[in-house]
């Protein structure tokens, strides 16, 4: 019974969050390039020579990975889908199935722009995974746990955004790469005819819109959990604080992204391996030094 209730709560709250994200995202965009948030064709289109299984499986994989990742995000003190012991690790692994989904869709539809989009999506994965992993190691070190609830409760005295500003900056940048928003929207750019979005019409196109907005919401929510103390806060109930912090991170991500120049996939890879990964390794050492000096760690 408890399982069904928490499941219903997770589905309801994260669907609501995704809908709000879909509604507010156009208001935060200032450029013509909308990337993953652009509208799919209205007609029910279908490519002539698809790999039908891959083409149809892609939206399913995308939505399933979104749903599975949302399970470990705590909404309130006692409300989370499942407080898995290796929660954070589970999260960063399972959310990468989104890349698999977009790659399947691009390859399966067999349209030149989509295949190009598939290759660039995989290149983007190569760029973001390692710095993202290094950024989330900081909170794990200070919380001494990978469970998301433990990470929140260990921030009761000091939010990790204060003790690990470099980690937070890394998380925001790699998070933008992960959700394909500006300035990292190359695989969904206008030159590629919006990538896979242009080959899915009607309801299937709407499904992509849900998944691609859902990933933005979920990554912002995880940012709030890791660095802003999640549901903890005075006066208001926990889930209200969680919503406020999530949308604060989301708006910050969009705001920063809009103010940077669009990067090509090649530049993204260079940025990642020449700047972000050395910075991530440095962040691990800085956090380690802080813990040895008695900051943060219990």
């Amino acid at each position: 019974m408890g399982i069904i209730l928490s499941l219903a709560a997770v589905i309801l709250l994260f669907s609501a969050g995704t809908l709000i994200t879909i509604l507010i995202e156009p208001m935060l965009s200032t450029t013509d390039e909308e990337g993953p948030a652009s509208n799919s064709p209205k007609n029910n289109i279908y490519p002539v020579h698809p790999d039908s299984w891959l083409y149809n499986a892609a939206p399913a994989v995308a939505l399933a990975s979104m749903a599975a990742a949302s399970v470990v995000i705590p909404i309130d003190k006692s409300l989370a889908g499942a407080d898995i012991g290796i929660g954070l690790f589970y999260f960063i692994v399972i959310i990468d199935y989104m890349v698999l989904a977009v790659a399947l869709g691009g390859w399966g539809s067999n349209v030149p722009e989509s295949i190009e989009s598939c290759y660039r999506i995989i290149a983007q994965l190569v760029a973001y995974v390692v710095p993202l992993g290094l950024a989330v190691i900081g909170p794990i070190m200070m919380a001494k746990s990978m469970s998301t609830q433990n990470i929140i409760s260990s921030q009761s005295s000091l939010w990790y955004i204060v003790s690990q500003p470099l980690g937070f900056a890394l998380y925001i940048i790699t998070g933008l790469m992960q959700v394909y928003r500006a300035p990292f929207l190359e695989p969904f750019s206008n030159i590629l005819n919006n990538g896979i979005i242009s080959t899915y019409g009607g309801w299937r196109g709407k499904l992509w819109r849900i998944s691609l907005s859902g990933i933005l919401f979920i990554v912002a929510a995880m940012g709030a959990v890791l660095f802003l103390g999640g549901w903890s806060g005075p006066l208001l109930p926990g889930f209200v604080w969680m919503a406020i912090k999530t949308f604060a991170v989301l708006i910050l991500m969009k705001w920063i992204g809009q103010r940077m120049k669009l990067l090509s996939t090649a530049r993204m890879l260079e940025l990642s391996w020449k700047i972000l990964i050395p910075a991530g390794l440095l962040n691990v050492l800085i956090v380690g030094g802080l813990i040895l000096m008695g900051v943060g760690g219990k």
Binding site: L7, A82, L134, M141
Partner: protein
């Protein structure tokens, strides 16, 4: 306990697939075709060296997670261990950078 956690995960994945099947049932009528010929052979990808370096680094990164959980309890010894580990990783990046591996072909 573990069974409870992962049953939630399994159930929510099932729910997602059920939702997708529902949507596919609604959109079975195909109206328009995208006219194209098969294009699978026309592309090459230009980040081969990045992909190879990524493969090794992603594997190394896994080792840092168990270390990070126990770090605060062990203290200085764990820090020095990780210093050696990070020095080796950084020399790997420096080597591939110097050999021109971090360039888009």
């Amino acid at each position: 306990m573990i069974l409870t956690w992962y049953s939630v995960t399994g159930l929510i994945i099932l729910a997602a697939f059920g939702f997708i099947l529902l949507i596919y049932a609604f959109s079975r009528k195909q109206k328009e075709w995208i006219l194209n010929s098969s294009k699978w052979n026309n592309f090459r990808f230009s980040f081969i060296t990045f992909a190879l370096i990524f493969l090794s680094f992603d594997m190394e990164m896994i080792f840092m997670y168990p270390w990070a959980v126990v770090f605060a309890d062990i203290g200085m010894k764990a820090f020095l261990d990780m210093l050696v580990f990070i020095a080796i990783l950084s020399s790997g990046i420096a080597y591939s950078w110097g050999m021109g591996g971090l360039n888009w072909e």
